[in-house]
Amino acid sequence: MTTLPMTTAKKLGLVIDLDTCVGCQACATSCKEWNTSGYSAPLSDQDPYGADPHGAWLNRIHSYEVGEGDTGRTVHFPRSCLHCETPACVTVCPTGASYKRASDGIVLVNPETCIGCKLCSWACPYGAREYDYAHGVMKKCTLCVDRIYNETLEPEDRVPACVRACPTGARHFGDLGDSDSQVSKLVAERGGFDLMPEFGYKPVNKYLPPRPRRDATTSASGDKKPAVREVESDADPSALTTRFFTWADKVLSR
């Protein structure tokens, strides 16, 4: 059914911290690994070892250079489906394969009924949907619908694969419809924003902006201590064992 639910009980989504994302691609590879055998499996690749490799991925990590000179910065920018509240990708679908779940707001494609007309990809301003050339259907982020409710997994694993994989904690998962949830608080605290809200699709996923840049005036503390804490060694340099290890280190280093 491509007509949208009036409301959804939850608004599950991601909050992505552009300040701490390091562009390591762990979320993208973890996503691909989980989802190539998950809900919308497979995620096929074409010409994977040839001259023109490409394939269906549900998460793409861009890196941008923003600003000029001293105020310039690198921002890593993960891009995936934003699970919009009123997504055009769903309403343009002629078959009902694309739908938004009334229970949790997740936007899904039914791979059993999708005809692969690609119109949803034309309707999405965020480039979030990708066509699977081998499977003949559209693929998109499922918010790991097959993980988050999966009771055979450990509780800490019941989050999207990208969130679980992120080594810097730049990805957060939760109910953005609940103003008391951790993700909603994070968005309020850090000034989370929507991508191109002018389209009116009301993205659920939010992005947290990079924090203000620190320089000599804002990062140095009063006593000019270096930012990295000095390692305090409790070893007494005159002790016999310490001298032994210093000697051993020298010998082994030859």
């Binding site: 007509t3 991925w57 793409r60 891009r79 078959t95 034309w122 999405c124 301003p125």
Partner: protein, 316 residues
């Protein structure tokens, strides 16, 4: 946007087929054409051949053509679904019209109702085709109120030239047909000319800074791409024709779609060439269709998609 040949042929062929159907139905209702079985077979045959091959062509654009029937279900929200529903629904009154015309040689009573229904349904189908494109705010060159009228006008224009060829073939061509066709052809291409002026002049309002939300920190430039070779989004949405090629192709579209057929029809009109009218009109119809094919290729190739902002386009 990637110009898929299956979709280009589909929109051009069904546009011309439904355009011809509308003229045939209207003229049949008015009793303004020969109600002979041969004319009926030829007219409705050409029209339905264009429509059916067009619809079949559209399914070859699908990843799962065997599931195409599912596309009739979401007419409440989807213009593509509505197009499918009306495309199939049109066959019903056409069948009744064909029965009256070809078998009974009549176009009155119930057959007149069928003709009217066929014309309206054909018009609505082409309207839905146009709305599939016009309703997408992600594509600046498509999200314009004149897009659907152009689909209708070019369908009616190519249909009218085909109608002239048929009338000439059956020796029923009148000056009024030629003048009407010239007017429709001129009107359609005038609209298309206005369209090109509009897309050339309109500002590109979507910026990379808005797409990423990073515009507040300064100019945004791509540093590292997410992948080394183009993905689906870049292949489908990133296709773009070089500006100088586009201008050449626009001139070619106008020449083939308007200048050549109009010249040929005027030659027939002023020369009073009854004997040569049929071959000249056939030539005019072929040229008009070729012109619309070029126009439709450009409609895709000149359209830029907002998603390409993530891949380094500064504005869209």
């Amino acid at each position: 946007m990637h110009p898929a040949y299956s979709v280009i042929y589909f929109t051009c062929a069904t546009g011309a087929g439904y355009g011809l159907l509308i003229w045939l139905a209207v003229f049949a209702m008015m009793g303004a054409l020969p109600l002979t079985p041969a004319f009926g077979l030829a007219g409705l045959g050409v029209s339905m051949a264009l429509v059916v091959t067009g619809l079949l062509s559209s399914t070859s654009h699908l990843g799962r053509p065997e599931r195409a029937w599912r596309a009739f279900s979401q007419w409440r929200s989807s213009w593509l679904s509505r197009e499918g529903v009306f495309a199939i629904a049109t066959f019903v009154p056409v069948a009744v019209l064909a029965l009256g015309w070809i078998v009974e040689g009549r176009s009155d009573g119930v057959y007149a109702v069928a003709a009217a229904a066929a014309a309206v349904s054909a018009l609505v189908t082409v309207y839905c085709t146009g709305m599939i494109y016009q309703s997408l705010p992600t594509i600046r060159a498509w999200n314009l109120p004149m897009v659907t009228p152009i689909y209708l006008a070019l369908g009616l224009a190519t249909g009218a030239v085909l109608m002239v060829a048929l009338m000439a073939g059956f020796g029923a061509l009148a000056q009024a047909h030629l003048m009407l066709t010239l007017a429709v052809l001129g009107g359609a291409w005038l609209l298309k000319f206005a369209y090109w002026s509009t897309i050339d002049g309109a500002p590109r309002e979507w910026k990379i800074g808005a797409a990423t939300g990073l515009g507040r920190f300064g100019q945004v430039r791509p540093l590292d791409p997410p992948h080394s070779k183009p993905n689906f989004v870049m292949r489908e949405m990133g296709y773009q024709v070089a500006r100088k090629h586009a201008l050449k192709l626009r001139r070619m579209a106008i020449a083939l779609g308007f200048a050549v057929p109009a010249g040929l029809l005027i030659t027939v009109l002023l020369g009073g060439l009854q004997a040569a009218a049929f071959p000249l009109a056939v030539l005019a119809a072929m040229s008009a269709l070729a012109g619309v094919l070029v126009e439709r290729w450009l409609f895709f190739a000149e359209a830029e998609h907002v998603a390409m902002l993530y891949y380094g386009k500064q504005e869209a």
